[in-house]
Amino acid sequence: AQSVSQHNHHVILSEAASLELGCNYSYGGTVNLFWYVQYPGQHLQLLLKYFSGDPLVKGIKGFEAEFIKSKFSFNLRKPSVQWSDTAEYFCAVNAQVSGGYNKLIFGAGTRLAVHP
């Protein structure tokens, strides 16, 4: 069965520290990969996505992610976090299933707290 694993459930950083959140997926076919972010009191927002091409994708607010096919990974990075990055981050895989529809499979999420 398809699954997504996020290794860190809680991460605490100081402002200006670098961030890397791990994401691994289990699916042998063609996948599209996403990171969504949920700021406190707000709804899920798309941070970035990978469909094909350059495996290093850039998203909003200085975030980037690298797709490594051989490792089934799609880790999220940011060189210098800010207090406003405090949020919950979800990695998701969009895997086409039989019948021609697509469903998002989410990881459990990583709760990031950035201290000033």
């Binding site: 709804h43 299933v97 019948g99 529809y101 697509n102 469903k103």
Partner: protein
């Protein structure tokens, strides 16, 4: 442009009752998906509708049903509510399922359902 809207924002029901949640997709989007997000977990796929037809269903009991209207809005119905149905119910819209996976889902704010 308006994003995905959902109503109501919050709902409190008792066990055994029935509930209807509503979703309006982004203008032009023809596909609506429903997800359940239990506290501390990532969203779980419930249904996907495209052009008013059910295209996919997740691992949820028959107490869960949905439909999509000609204007592409959607309703999610849950019968015989259980305590375990307490969750945030998310609606996501996208252009359509197509035959590939290049479809990006945009989420609404969700409906917080509490079952007492």
């Amino acid at each position: 442009d308006a994003g995905v809207t959902q109503s109501p924002t919050h709902l409190i029901k008792t066990r055994g009752q029935q509930v209807t949640l509503r979703c309006s997709p982004i203008s032009g989007h023809k596909s609506v998906s429903w997800y359940q997000q239990v506290l501390g977990q990532g969203p779980q796929f419930i249904f996907q509708y495209y052009e008013k037809e059910e295209r996919g269903r997740g691992n949820f009991p028959d107490r869960f049903s949905a439909r999509q209207f000609p204007n592409y809005s959607s309703e999610l119905n849950v019968n015989a509510l259980l305590l375990g149905d307490s969750a945030l119910y998310l609606c996501a819209s996208s252009w359509g399922t197509g035959t590939g996976t290049r479809d990006t889902q945009y989420f609404g704010p969700g409906t917080r359902l509490t079952v007492l």
